[in-house]
Symmetry: none
Subunit: 236 residues, 4 copies
């Protein structure tokens, strides 16, 4: 990556302490400071939205001057990219941590739990949904390198893989499982977009109920079974 090159050049310039040690320490420090900036970015982003999360605002919240940010990120869009990466990581953790508790049919319980974890994550952090859409949609060329894009895509797919696996366990073929997973993903995104833009209120509907209904009908369609509907956990 362009970034690490820069850093290495810096360490070469003044060689006093053993390079390895220095490199390691620097890298650690570096990582810590990157995190600091990402924290600032995330908080700005949450509170002010994409438009409000200007580089200046992020720098201010991180306790840096704008120029300093460029020591850690090549440009603003790279920060967004890192933010998204980190967001996807948390998403994966949330999905991984989810476990069903359906005695009669454990596999169905896990399916529900995994899908719900995905849904709840974005329901409760609506800005992170925007972030993903913005990045892949409007980003200027330089912001999203092919490699980064690939990495982010992989993370996203990883977050949905538990759902896919569970569908296979429940009797779907590989192809059908992918299709159904994509459909779940689409339904979640659709519900949340409608919710976040206030469109859902027009129809006097509740996003959680819609999602639960969708999962019910999905499970109904599964080859093996006679599942029982479980409600989505209520929002905090």
């Amino acid at each position: 990556m362009a970034r690490s090159t820069t850093i290495r050049r810096g360490s070469v310039r003044k060689a006093a302490t053993p390079p390895d040690t220095r490199l390691a320490r620097e890298s650690t420090l570096n990582q810590a400071r990157r995190m600091l900036i990402l924290d600032a970015a995330r908080s700005a982003f949450f509170e002010l939205g994409l438009d409000g999360a200007s580089l200046r605002e992020i720098a201010k919240r991180a306790g840096y001057t704008p120029g300093a940010i460029y020591s850690y990120f090549a440009n603003l869009e790279e920060i967004y990219g890192a933010l998204l990466g980190e967001s996807l990581q948390r998403l994966n953790q949330a999905v991984a941590a989810a476990s069903g508790c359906d005695a009669s049919s454990p596999a169905v319980g896990v399916l529900r739990a995994k899908a719900e974890a995905f849904y709840v994550f974005y329901r409760d952090n609506p800005k992170e949904l925007d972030l993903g859409f913005y990045l892949f949609d409007g980003m200027k060329p330089r912001g999203l390198t092919p490699e980064l894009n690939q990495a982010l895509n992989d993370q996203l797919m990883a977050a949905l893989r538990p759902v896919q696996r569970q569908l296979e366990i429940l009797g779907l073929g590989a192809g059908a499982a992918v299709i159904e997973t994509t459909a779940v993903f689409a339904q979640i995104v659709g519900i949340l977009v409608l919710n976040n833009t206030g469109r859902i209120r027009l129809f006097k509907q509740n996003p959680d109920a819609l999602f639960a209904r969708y999962m019910d009908s999905l499970i109904h369609r599964l080859p093996v079974l006679e599942s029982t509907a479980v409600r989505v956990s209520e929002r905090g």
Copy 2:
């Protein structure tokens, strides 16, 4: 009033076109120029996205100076509003024009046709989806008056009403029909968002197929029937 006097005098001077004609023509010209600007706005919007569709850009494309725009629209957001209104109008027309051709079950055919018209409209004009989301979400207070908001909402709901009606014809109660309509809406939005952001490619899925599948399963769930699945018309 001074105004009518003027007009009359004007018509006397030229003694050719009656006042009505003049007024009408002026109004027509005005409308035409508004349209010109809206066209420019739409094209800027399509090519550059919402951020790129600045007043300057719109003016440039319309062959105007920025200031001239303000003779036709009070501010930028009003242009967006008009754009959205016009988009929703076209959407309604598209849905209204759609008619099914399913001999075995006309009602199902119409249901499919109406939903598909909605889907296809936004599939083929992806930016118009963004427009709607932006406007209802981030718009500054002055841009979106409560009345305009109401009108736009009404237009949107009107575009989905045919689907709802058809669901009722097919045996759903009023409440269930609304729920199912909302779910269809969410599914369409979800599929298109995934498609527009390139997410759907990750899963190697085709949006049309996903949509068709969803309609199939919906129809399957309907109380009355034994429908046959019909494919969505292929994209141009």
Copy 3:
């Protein structure tokens, strides 16, 4: 004046009705419409201040388009000039109408009444004070022709002449009377400026009381007399 030239040219162009009649009628109409515009200007000016009284705003209030205004006034500043002229006229009327009612010393009563009329006029129409200051101070060259300037100055002096005359009646020489009149003028202006800018509140003083006090002390200083203090009429 440039304006009348234009009008004459117009009447020459299409000579149908006897020129005298036409001229008179046109002039009358013209005057009426000028008044219409001035009314609009005054109302805009009162409600929105100098900055808010843009040509567009004035035109709107007069029921005209901006361009039409230029048939009656060469530019915006000329409107201000006319407004000021008209304001000074009203001032003169107010001062002329004022008459004292002090039985023991009629001359002193009249002096008080005249000065007070002047004071009250500007106290109750603070914007007109601004107008005068703006015009003579910041006006661009073209706005205030020497002739107009002279005319306005004459009007202003005329409004103060009753005070001056009364001072002479009360025993002051011509020179002393002018000096004292100027001082009264300055005191009134000073009090009102402090009042309008809220400065007087800092000192917890009341403008009317200050003015009354000043008049008392002035009268005290007059050669002849043993005046009795009369209070300034309370503000509506």
Copy 4:
């Protein structure tokens, strides 16, 4: 804090100037640049008046781009505020520095000197009078915080307090002294406004003479004394 760390590290690298010095120098530089901008603002303001002292004009005169100004001032009105604050400071200094030289009655001499200093300050810097009036009158909310407003008001009153104190020394009660001070203030403002707008010339009067006359009459009215009139220092 990250900030202090940075500074220290910086000072280690150069190992020459201690941090305090660096900070101080930077702060000094900063102050100097603020001053530079204020100078530019003042000159623009003097030559072109408030309307002409646009941010662009100020930036141009300061040798900056408009955007650069915002490193030093949050917005245009803050510049005006700073300008006024600085003006009031000079006013206070001028008044403080003034000392009378009247052997027969030192207190009267001081009174004259203090009032005259106030008068002369604004006579010789007429635009500063406008500035104060504008700021307290028309300023947009954001420009003038209540605290700043309070501070400026305090500065203004401080400049008049010496006059007030002197009046008390000369036998006036606290209330009477405030009234008389306000009256002096009003008279000064009135004379100067008439002078600046050229109105005084109409009456063929001289502002200095008018002011001197007013002070004479004021002193005459004081309880204790038999003062002798002293002329106001002639204008440069």
